[in-house]
């Protein structure tokens, strides 16, 4: 009987272990951990699409003048490594931190990746980057906004996206420019997860600095069957501004519930996430005309720099939809990582790390509406910033900073249900 058990165990292990392990020769491999299944699967797959496009731009020649100034986007592979091609190896995190940990280990030990990226959800990023830190492998995070990720004193962790502190400060700066309605009383409605709690903490910090007060602190459990209690609590607090930190499902439910309860906060300002999801815009767009959101990307900023237009057109040609704030950042992350590996001129992790530290891209060398990419002592990109958009028509339009705004009539306030 013991033999049976042993045989069974070995058979299962054999199956698990007979997974391909390549030798990395003309191919430079980086690992990407994303939620390809689970509740964030739709976002995970969008991120994968953008990353696939980035890899394509790096490896395969194409004639696009718009991308001329962007490092690594000329389709020549990694020139300093003999034109080696970049390959991204994906692992599904299922949205769970311990799975992310396993993925990171596997990618490092078996797939022999030279760097890691991912993982969208802050909890998964934490465990995956912890492994990278322990093993001395560079980790580039492009989408997670939780400030504490760069407060751990890690030496191998780099983040291109601005974090929630920058974003919430952007919100306050935007609110300062709003004169048509009062903006002093703020209510925060957020899901009781890392993302939501960090949003709230950041609002707490910057509300004080910008002379605003929080009149309601409404935390809710994600994916609840009903949010009527939350909406009732919100409406009775009578805020000037309602800031939301929700993912797609709850965003949809909140919109529906508020609409049915005939309650509209004068300024409905979302912290990205669900409100910028393609599906949300598609399904709920007509109902939430006038909703504001923080984002890092909007289709109308493509007019500001030729690179932005070029990259959006390419994405649209390949997938039939526009880039959004989530996957545009993933795309940029791959380009930054590839650039660093190229400048390192080797696959040695220390060299790549030094190259990352030395990253200094200016506004014309990034495909984001940022001032550039430069990492501070904590590994946080200090040149990034957010945008404030408003839903007008079929999609979002930029409202702030005014330098990116194309429609001077915006923002249209106060917010009301159509």
């Amino acid at each position: 009987m013991k033999k049976n058990i042993l045989a069974g165990v070995l058979a299962s292990l054999a199956m698990a272990a007979t997974l391909p392990a390549h030798a990395a020769d003309k191919v430079i491999r980086i690992g990407a951990i994303y939620p390809l299944t689970g509740s964030s699967a739709s976002t995970g797959q969008e991120l994968k699409e953008a990353i696939d496009l980035a890899v394509d731009l790096i490896n395969n020649p194409h004639a696009d003048a718009g991308l001329a100034g962007i490092p690594m986007a000329q389709g020549k592979g990694l020139p300093n490594l003999g034109g080696a091609k970049l390959q991204v190896v994906y692992e599904d995190s299922q949205g769970k931190p311990e799975v992310g940990l396993a993925d990171a280990q596997r990618l490092i030990d078996q797939e022999h990746v030279v760097a890691l990226t991912g993982a969208y959800q802050s909890g998964v990023t934490k465990t995956a980057s912890r492994i990278a830190e322990q093993r001395g492998i560079p980790y580039l995070n492009a989408e997670s906004s939780s400030p504490d990720l760069t407060e751990r004193g890690y030496k191998w962790f780099f983040r291109t996206t601005p974090n929630d502190e920058t974003f919430i400060e952007n919100m306050m700066q935007f609110l300062d420019t709003v004169k048509s309605v009062p903006t002093t009383k703020i209510a925060v409605v957020y899901e009781n997860t890392d993302f939501g709690v960090n949003t709230y903490k950041a609002v707490e910090k910057f509300a004080k600095k910008y002379h605003r007060q929080i009149v309601a602190n409404i935390a809710y459990s994600a994916n609840s069957p009903s949010v009527t209690a939350e909406v009732q609590k919100l409406s009775s607090a009578k805020p000037d501004v309602a800031i939301f930190a929700s993912y797609v499902s709850d965003a949809m439910l909140f919109v529906r519930t508020m609409r049915e309860a005939k309650y509209a906060p004068p300024v409905l300002l979302a912290n990205d996430a669900g409100f910028i999801d393609t599906r949300f815009i598609q399904e709920m767009g007509p109902q939430v005309q006038g909703v504001l959101t923080r984002d890092v990307w909007a289709t109308d900023v493509t007019g500001a720099k030729p690179a932005l237009k070029a990259i959006n057109d390419l994405f649209k040609a390949k997938y039939g939809k526009e880039l959004n704030g989530n996957n545009a950042r993933s795309l940029e992350g791959i380009l930054v990582l590839a650039d660093a590996i190229n400048r390192a001129g080797s696959t040695d992790p220390q060299a790549i790390r030094k190259a990352l530290i030395a990253t200094n891209l200016n506004a014309n060398q990034v495909v984001m509406p940022w001032a550039g990419v430069k990492f501070d002592a904590n590994g946080q990109n200090s040149e990034g910033s957010g945008l404030i958009l408003q839903m007008d028509g079929p999609g979002y339009k930029t409202v702030w900073p005014t330098s990116y705004r194309t429609d001077a009539a915006l923002p249209k306030l106060p917010f009301a249900w159509k």
Partner: protein, 327 residues
């Protein structure tokens, strides 16, 4: 569930001997197998086997199915990491303390819940799990929704290692201890009383079995063991948050492992874990990265097939091979 009556004294504790041999072999494995994925899978299999075996004390031998055992994993894990974080207490003390706190928790909630019958008890454990989840999510001092992270250091007495191999060895040791605990408990008078209560509680009571005390004992011991594993898990992953610990899916997986292997048997949960974990991890890695979700589909189908064709669990394979002997 065999009682060794007519076996000679020398081979009376044969299973424990076998367990020791397997433990030693597993402990030596990292010298041969360097692949971290395999080690991770083995570690998870060992951990779930132990969790299943601990659960089995209540669910199998006593006969009370608990779907909320994750609450003890959570209490153990948080105790360990909180002690480390705020008081710099080594997990060598923290993990047993985590077990103790979990046992205490079980003692507190056991009173009202253990007098509930089957289905009600199962649901009550789920309720406890959810309460634990929501309490810790809203408790900022314990990290709240953001969770707690263990520092990265090279400190063996703090159980902070840079590679996962030491954790693997600790897991093997803990598993062996868990197995011994379950073995000696089940083969003692305690185990005998448990089986009596499981069979027919009213009859057992009428024969003088102090049912309440022994029910509580099973619950408390099971919780304590589970809590220790929770503490271990916290150190292994290095990061905990309420969602990943007070997780209904994990609790159900523990039950799964025990039922799949053969509930109410000593070896069942280990067997179930040895098959289930490599299967689910292997599938995830093989098919999961495409995002098509095929791996979970195959997993679900596998569970369905096993239940349809091996209703007693994998352990019945042995009985079938032997023919008509044994129950």
């Amino acid at each position: 569930m065999t009682t060794q009556t007519s076996v000679s004294r020398k081979t009376r504790h044969l299973p424990v001997l076998w367990a020791a041999v397997i433990a030693v072999l597993l402990g030596l494995l990292p010298f041969v197998v360097k692949d971290s994925f395999t080690l991770q899978v083995l570690l998870l299999a060992i951990m779930f086997g132990a969790l299943g075996a601990s659960w089995n004390l209540v669910g199998g031998f006593l006969g009370r199915v608990s779907f909320g055992h994750g609450v003890f994993i959570g209490s153990g894990a948080y105790t360990t990491l909180l002690l480390l974080h705020y008081a710099n207490v080594s997990p060598l003390i923290g993990i047993p303390l985590g077990g103790l706190i979990s046992a205490l928790l079980a003692w507190v909630v056991g009173g009202p819940t253990l007098r509930l019958s089957g289905h009600y008890f199962a649901m009550a454990t789920i309720a406890l799990l959810q309460i634990g989840l929501l309490l810790f999510t809203n408790w900022d001092w314990a990290g709240g929704a953001t969770g707690l992270e263990a520092p990265i250091r090279d400190a063996s007495w703090m159980l902070l290692f840079r590679t996962k191999v030491p954790y693997y060895r600790i897991a093997v040791l803990l598993a062996f201890l868990t197995f011994c605990a379950t073995y000696f408990l089940v083969h003692s008078r305690v185990g005998f009383y448990w089986r009596a209560v499981n069979g027919d509680e009213a009859a057992a009571r009428s024969l003088g079995v102090p049912a309440d005390r022994y029910k509580m004992l099973a619950f408390v011991i099971s919780a304590g063991l589970t809590g220790m594993w929770g503490g271990f898990f916290a150190m292994y992953v290095g990061f905990i948050d309420p969602d990943s610990l007070f997780n209904l899916t994990t609790s159900v997986q523990i039950v799964l492992v025990a039922i799949l292997g053969g509930v109410g048997t000593l070896i069942g949960p280990w067997l179930g874990a040895a098959v289930l974990l490599p299967l689910s991890e292997g599938l995830r890695v093989m098919m999961g990265s495409s995002g098509a979700g095929m791996d979970l589909l195959v997993f679900g189908l596998a569970i369905l097939l096993v239940t349809l064709f091996l209703p007693g669990g994998l352990i019945t394979l042995r009985r079938r091979r032997r023919g008509t002997s044994g129950r």
